[in-house]
C-alpha cells in the first residue's frame, strides 16, 4: 500500500475560525462555495422576478424598490446575468461540489494546494461583495448586459450606472478570474497528482473527468477575459482607444479614436463560449454519476462519455464567432464557425444517447437525485436542439437578440446546469451533512420546478420567432409586440410560482441539515470512493488510510458479486470487467 502522502501539513484545526471560516479543508471550502452560490442564486432570482414583474406591469410601484425605470431594468438584467453566470453557474458546480467531492473520489486527503484553495474561495467572496456594491454606488449598477459590449461599457458618460458601477462590475469580474484561475490550477494538479493507487485515468468517476476538463477550460479561458477586462478598464479610465472608436455621446465628442468594439467581442466570446461548458460540464458529470447509480447499471459507454466531454471542451474553444454572426464578419468565417458549432452536436448526441442507454432496462430508483438527473437530460435536449438553429448564420440573422436566444441559453446553460446542481445537492447532501433530505418535498420541488421552467422558457422560443426583441424593458410602446404581452404575462406567473417553489428547496435543505434522518455511509448504494468513508468524512477523508482502487467507477450488477454493486476499493475479483 502506498504511504499516505502528506499533502497538507495541516492537522485537524481546533478553533472556530480556522475550522469554519479560514479553513484549509477542501470539504469546508466546498460547503462555503455552496452557500456563497446559494446566496448569489437568490439575489439573481430576485432580480429576475423584478424584471418579469416590470415587463408586465411597467408602472407598478413595488415595495422597497419602488417603480422600476427602463434604465434600471437594464441594470437588473446586467446584474442578473453576471451574478448567475459567474457566482452561481461557475461557483456552485465547480467550486462547491468539485471542491467537496473531487479529492474524496480520487482517494486524496485534500486538494494539492490547500492554502491556494482557501485563497481562491475568499477571492471569489470579495468578487461577490464588489459586484453587489455596484448596486449602492452613485448611478447604480451598469447597463451593458453580462456581455459588457463597448462602447456602452467603455464610456463613463454613456448612461447611469456606467460610471463607478461599471468599474466595480469589471473589477469584480477580474477578481473572479483570478480566483477561478487559482481554483483551476488546484483542480488540475490534484487530479493529475493525487489519485490513489489503482485510480487510473479511465477509472475516474465521470464527475472527476467533468471537473478536470472544466478546470482546463477555466485555466485557458479566464486569462483571456482578464486581459479583455484590463483593456476595458484602460479605455474607461486612461483614455486609451482599444475598443472605443470616434464617438459622440449625448452631443459630446469623446477623446477616443480608432478602437474597435469587435475586439472586445472576440476576446469576450473566446472566454464566453468555453464558459458555457464550464457551467454545464459538471452537470453532465453529475448526471452520468446519478443515472448510473439509480439505474443500477454501469454507465453506457464510459470511454465514449470521456472522449465526448473532451471533444466538447476542445470544440468549445473554436466556436466563439457564432455569437458574432451579426457583426459583419466574412461569410467564409461565419461558415467555418457554423460548421464547427454544429460539430458539437455530435459529442452532445453521444452523451444523450449514452444517458438513455444507461437507463434502458435498468432497475430505476426514482429518488430525487435521479429525478433531477432525468430532468437534466430533458432540458439538455430541449435547450440543446435550438443550438443548431442558432448556429446557422441565415437563421441567426433572424433570431439574434430575440427571446429565442434567451430561451435557448436559459434552458441549456441556465436551468440544465441548475438541475445538475440540484441533482448534486440531493445526491451528496447525506455525505456533506450526515443527514437525508426529505424525499417527498424533494419530489414536489422537482415537479414544480420542471414544469415551471418549461413554462417560463419554452414560450420564449415562440416569442423570438415572432420577432420579440430581448433587453426591452417594456413592450407596450411597440405595436407588433403588444400582441405578445399575454404570453409574457403567462411566463411571469410561471416565474412567480417557480421562484416560490425554490423556498421548498431551501426549507428542506436547512430543515434536513438539523432534523433530517441520519444518513448511513452509503445511502444510495453507490460505488465511488466518497461512499466508502464515514458520513460525514473525517478531516483527512479516510481516517489515516489511503484507499486502493481495484475497480472502475460504475460496476453495478456484476455477476457473482454478493450485492448488485461493487465498491471501487473492493479487493475481490468477480467477473471479467
Amino acid at each position: 500500500m502506498a504511504t499516505p502522502v502528506s499533502v497538507h501539513a495541516h492537522a485537524a484545526p481546533q478553533g472556530f475560525i480556522r475550522k469554519y471560516i479560514f479553513s484549509l479543508d477542501h470539504k469546508v471550502i466546498g460547503i462555503q462555495y455552496f452557500f456563497l452560490a446559494l446566496t448569489a442564486v437568490f439575489v439573481g432570482m430576485f432580480l429576475s422576478l423584478l424584471m418579469r414583474i416590470h415587463m408586465i406591469w411597467p408602472t407598478a410601484v413595488l415595495p422597497i424598490v419602488g417603480e422600476i425605470k427602463p434604465e434600471q431594468y437594464l441594470s437588473l438584467l446586467t446584474m442578473h446575468g453576471t451574478i448567475m453566470v459567474f457566482f452561481v453557474l461557475t461557483t456552485a458546480p465547480q467550486g462547491g461540489f468539485g471542491n467537496y467531492v473531487l479529492p474524496i473520489q480520487i482517494g486524496a486527503p485534500d486538494m494539492a494546494f490547500p492554502v491556494l484553495n482557501m485563497l481562491s474561495f475568499w477571492t471569489t467572496f470579495v468578487g461577490f461583495i464588489v459586484i453587489i456594491a455596484a448596486f449602492f454606488v452613485t448611478g447604480g449598477a451598469p447597463l451593458h448586459g453580462w456581455t459588457g459590449y463597448p462602447p456602452l461599457s467603455a464610456v463613463q458618460s454613456a448612461g447611469p450606472g456606467e460610471g463607478l458601477g461599471a468599474d466595480l462590475w469589471i473589477t469584480s469580474i477580474a477578481i473572479f478570474c483570478i480566483a477561478s484561475l487559482m481554483g483551476a490550477l488546484n483542480f488540475i494538479t490534484t487530479t493529475l497528482d493525487l489519485r490513489a493507487k489503482g485510480m487510473s485515468l479511465m477509472r475516474m468517476p465521470l464527475t472527476v473527468w467533468s471537473w478536470f476538463i472544466t478546470a482546463i477550460l477555466g485555466l485557458l479561458a479566464f486569462g483571456v477575459l482578464l486581459s479583455a477586462g484590463i483593456l476595458l478598464l484602460l479605455d474607461r479610465n486612461m483614455g486609451t482607444s482599444f475598443y472605443v472608436p470616434l464617438i459622440n455621446v449625448n452631443g459630446v465628442m469623446m477623446g477616443h479614436k480608432g478602437g474597435s468594439p469587435l475586439l472586445w467581442q472576440h476576446l469576450f466570446w473566446f472566454f464566453g463560449h468555453p464558459e458555457v461548458y464550464i457551467a454545464i460540464l459538471p452537470g453532465m458529470g453529475v448526471t452520468s454519476q446519478v443515472l448510473s447509480t439509480f439505474s443500477r447499471k454501469p454507465i453506457f459507454g464510459y470511454k465514449a462519455m470521456v472522449y465526448a466531454m473532451l471533444a466538447i471542451g476542445f470544440f468549445g474553444f473554436m466556436v466563439w464567432g457564432h455569437h458574432m454572426f451579426m457583426s459583419g464578419m466574412s461569410p467564409y468565417s461565419a461558415f467555418a464557425f457554423s460548421i464547427l458549432t454544429m460539430c458539437i452536436g455530435v459529442p452532445s448526441a453521444i452523451k444523450t444517447f449514452n444517458w438513455l442507454g444507461t437507463m434502458w432496462k435498468g432497475h430505476i430508483r426514482f429518488d430525487t437525485p435521479m429525478l433531477y438527473a432525468i430532468g437534466f437530460v430533458s432540458l439538455f435536449v430541449s435547450g440543446g436542439l435550438s443550438g443548431p438553429f442558432l448556429a446557422q448564420p441565415v437563421l441567426d440573422i433572424q433570431l439574434h437578440d430575440t427571446y429565442f436566444v434567451v430561451g435557448h441559453f436559459h434552458l441549456i446553460m441556465g436551468v440544465a446546469a441548475i438541475f445538475g446542481i440540484f441533482a448534486a445537492t440531493y445526491y451528496w447532501f447525506p455525505k456533506m451533512f450526515g443527514r437525508m433530505m426529505n424525499e417527498t418535498w424533494g419530489r414536489i420541488h422537482f415537479f414544480i420546478t420542471l414544469a415551471g421552467t418549461y413554462a417560463i422558457f419554452m414560450p420564449m422560443h415562440y416569442l423570438g420567432m415572432a420577432g420579440q426583441t430581448r433587453r426591452y424593458s417594456q413592450f407596450t410602446e411597440v405595436a407588433y409586440q403588444t400582441k405578445l404581452i399575454p404570453l409574457q404575462t403567462f411566463m411571469t406567473y410561471a416565474a412567480i410560482i417557480t421562484i416560490a417553489a425554490q423556498f421548498i428547496f431551501v426549507i428542506n435543505l436547512f430543515w434536513s441539515m438539523f432534523k433530517g434522518p441520519k444518513a448511513s455511509d452509503n445511502p444510495w448504494e453507490a460505488t465511488t470512493l466518497e461512499w466508502t468513508t464515514t458520513t460525514p468524512p473525517p478531516h483527512d477523508n479516510f481516517g489515516g488510510v489511503t484507499p486502493v482502487v481495484h475497480h472502475g467507477p460504475y460496476e453495478y450488477g456484476v455477476p457473482g458479486a454478493p450485492r448488485d454493486y461493487v465498491m471501487q476499493n473492493d479487493p475481490a475479483t468477480y467477473a471479467a470487467h
Binding site: V5, R195, I230, L234, L267, T532, D570, T573
Partner: protein, 243 residues
C-alpha cells in the same frame, strides 16, 4: 476521529487473491520509494506549469489584440476616409537592452541558486546522520543577487517609461504606445510577483524551513523567473519587430 472501515468485508473472498491494482494511478507507490518532498516538488512544478499556461493565455490574447489593432483601418472624421492610425513608438533601445542584460544575468544567478538549493536538499539527509559533517560550506548568496538584479530590472523599466514620457509617448497617445505600456507594465506586474516569491524563498531558512522545503520554494521561483525572462524577450521582440 472516526475510524475507516472498508465497506466490503474481507471474509467473503474465499481464497480469491486480490488482483494487483494496475499502474497509472497518481502516486503509484512512487511516494513510497522517494522521500515525501520529491512528491511535493513534482506537485508544485505541476501547479507552476498550470500557472504559466494561464500567464501565456493572458499574453497570447494581448498579442492577438496587438496584431488586430495594428492592422485595423480606422475612420478619420476629418478626411472622411479610412486610415491606418498605428504610429511607431520611439523606443529607448539602449535602456531596454541594458534591462534585458540585467534580466538575463538574474536568470543565470537564479539558476545557480536553484542548483545550490537542490544540492543542499540532496545532502540534507546525509547531514542528519549523527557524526557526519560536510563542513561548514558557505554558499554564495546567488538568490540575494537575483533579487537585486530583479529590482534593477524593474528600476530600469521605470526609467524606460519615464523616457517614453519624455519622448512624448503616453498611454493614450497612440494605439502603439498604449500597447507598449500595456505589455511592459503587465510583464512588470508578473515579474514583481516573481520577486515576492523570490523573497519568500530567500527567507525560507529564516522561517525555520527545512532544506527540502526551501528547495521547493527556490525551484518553483526559479522556473517562474526563467519564464519571465522568456516572456520579456518575446515582448521586446514583438515591440521591436512588429512595430
Amino acid at each position: 476521529m472516526a475510524t475507516y472501515t472498508p465497506s466490503t468485508p474481507i471474509d467473503h473472498l474465499g481464497g480469491i487473491k486480490p488482483p494487483e491494482p494496475p499502474a497509472g494511478g497518481g502516486d503509484d507507490g512512487r511516494s513510497a520509494s522517494f522521500p515525501d518532498y520529491r512528491a511535493r516538488l513534482r506537485r508544485a512544478r505541476l501547479g507552476l506549469i498550470c500557472g504559466i499556461a494561464t500567464v501565456c493565455m493572458v499574453f497570447i490574447s494581448l498579442t492577438s489584440a496587438y496584431i488586430f489593432r495594428q492592422g485595423l483601418p480606422t475612420f478619420d472624421g476629418t478626411t472622411n476616409s479610412y486610415v491606418h492610425d498605428w504610429g511607431s513608438v520611439n523606443l529607448p533601445w539602449m535602456l531596454l537592452f541594458i534591462n534585458t542584460a540585467l534580466l538575463l544575468a538574474s536568470s543565470v544567478t537564479m539558476e545557480l541558486a536553484r542548483r545550490n538549493a537542490a544540492r543542499q536538499a540532496a545532502l540534507a539527509p546525509v547531514e542528519s546522520i549523527p557524526g557526519v559533517s560536510l563542513g561548514s560550506e558557505r554558499s554564495f548568496p546567488w538568490l540575494a543577487i537575483t533579487v537585486l538584479l530583479g529590482f534593477g530590472f524593474l528600476a530600469g523599466q521605470w526609467l524606460a517609461w519615464i523616457e517614453l514620457h519624455n519622448r512624448g509617448f503616453y498611454v493614450n497617445t497612440n494605439p502603439s504606445s498604449s500597447f507598449t505600456f500595456l505589455l511592459t507594465v503587465t510583464h512588470a506586474v508578473h515579474l514583481a510577483g516573481g520577486l515576492i516569491a523570490l523573497l519568500w524563498a530567500a527567507t525560507a531558512s529564516l522561517r525555520h524551513k527545512t532544506a527540502e522545503a526551501r528547495q521547493i520554494a527556490v525551484d518553483i521561483s526559479a522556473w517562474y523567473w526563467h519564464f519571465m525572462l522568456v516572456l520579456w524577450v518575446y515582448i521586446f521582440a514583438l515591440l521591436g519587430i512588429a512595430r
